[in-house]
Symmetry: C2
Subunit: 330 residues, 2 copies
Amino acid sequence: MKKILNQPSAYVDEMLAGLCAAYPEHYTLTHPRVLARTGGARPGKVGIVTGGGSGHLPVFLGYVGQGLLDACAVGNVFAGPRVADCVDAIQAADGGAGVLTLYGNYGGDRMNFEMAQEQLESDALPLTSVRVADDVASASPAERDKRRGVAGMVLAFKVAGACAAAGHPLATVTRVASKAAQACRSIGVALTPCTVPESGQASFQIADTEIEFGMGIHGEPGLWRGPMKSADALTDEMLDLLLPELQLSTGDRVAVLVNSLGATPHEELFIVYRRVAQVLAARGVRPVMPLVGRYATSMEMTGLSLTLMPLDGELETLLTAPADCPFWKI
Amino acid sequence: MKKILNQPSAYVDEMLAGLCAAYPEHYTLTHPRVLARTGGARPGKVGIVTGGGSGHLPVFLGYVGQGLLDACAVGNVFAGPRVADCVDAIQAADGGAGVLTLYGNYGGDRMNFEMAQEQLESDALPLTSVRVADDVASASPAERDKRRGVAGMVLAFKVAGACAAAGHPLATVTRVASKAAQACRSIGVALTPCTVPESGQASFQIADTEIEFGMGIHGEPGLWRGPMKSADALTDEMLDLLLPELQLSTGDRVAVLVNSLGATPHEELFIVYRRVAQVLAARGVRPVMPLVGRYATSMEMTGLSLTLMPLDGELETLLTAPADCPFWKI
């Protein structure tokens, strides 16, 4: 396996050790698989917790930080976190004002967070939950609650985190997290897989000449597989899927995230962003604080995703508010 | 070619268009291949100019920003910038206090910047030049001026940029840039190549089971080629090359940059950083503001580099001073 690691079984724990060694002022492990903000829960602030499989940095744990998340339950690569770690993460984020669990719509993550919440029900800790399900390729609009959560999650983290940092109560933080989750839409394209350390196997198989449009970040099936297209053709096809689900008209403002799934370089993200900006400009729609980079990855997978989130005044204020984690400073 | 692009010949220009569309408040093209800070040269501030081939984002152009660089001459992928663009970049950075050209030690870049400086000699514009030559694999200590410039360049940009932003004169900015360039040492390891758009060819050939230790970022020959080793073994071997050239002893402070060459994921950079921190701690050496991420890449090349720069008080103050470009905020 040509990856830079020691024992594959130590991949996640050694990654966590390095992350905390690099940024001790930001991150503290409160349990072996629970990462929380250094200094503990902020008294009186609504806590926000996420969790999920490893292999997606900065998602999930990277977004623990000022104006973002308070704690994260960390699973193995591409595997949901344990229930006990979800419980511990929620407790680590409890500053006395309640806790929102905010995570992607994957079976394992959902089941384990729901079991954790059940365990904590007797603790008189107010708990709410919002799941992000933004991948338009994964189910039809009529079955939106079956969609997977992908990079749109990052926008929901940002909006909810800013709301909590501003001192709003749990109901408000939950409402804006839900508003962001409802508003965002994403679509991805995959070129090459990554290698999962524990198995040594590629996350999916694909021919040297083929790409898969709409593939999920763990290699879940997409909408079509075929030969490479131009960047502009791919971008237009992504926008053709996203825009009909959004109500964007002249004068509207939108968050735009062009996200590398890992190996796809910044150069190519900007080629795609250029086209997105052209198409939006032609409709009179204005991108706000465009995000172009690696925000939600699958290790060294090649490909990218495009996320749009129409903004009202509240979402725009929260999206552009200050934030500070080692992966994202605003 | 499985890359996200349109016409390969348009790769660089479309990248530049997207970059400037995403961050118009930061970047302005003053010529088709000259990127400068929006708002123009800062009157009374020493200008800092760099340049080099494309395909290395954030190097070179990405580091144009507050507390960093003022302008950049942009070449084709892995090709030096044109002389005329070096001239224009120097002029774009001229705020009346002189200009430092600060770039990596590559033949083409050096020749073209030197020709540009000759052309400008009659302009009464004070010009100095510092080249970064930090790659220990590329020549022996006795031939340091033959070494290539790699990720250490980013530390030199940061230090010089902070010095210029603080209002120091050209002689001081040049002195600290030179001090940083003299102080830093880097070494890389390559796992897989990238594809050069214009040719459609891989930047080098390597077997599925092999890595090349010490390979340059364009595929220049390294020190050995052989089977994969563990992350800790590779890290130790990198440190065994870097540390003997540095005079680090207990209580010393050092800048550490663990840099992905593109595809290598953050997870693996942290596994390496963990080992670096362990080895430095055993020597009583303290990392200052560790940098772990993609700072100098070769598009989707897999591999990483390790850079160390021992710090005195002046370098540490400049390294940790505020900076702001879309790729790096401090």
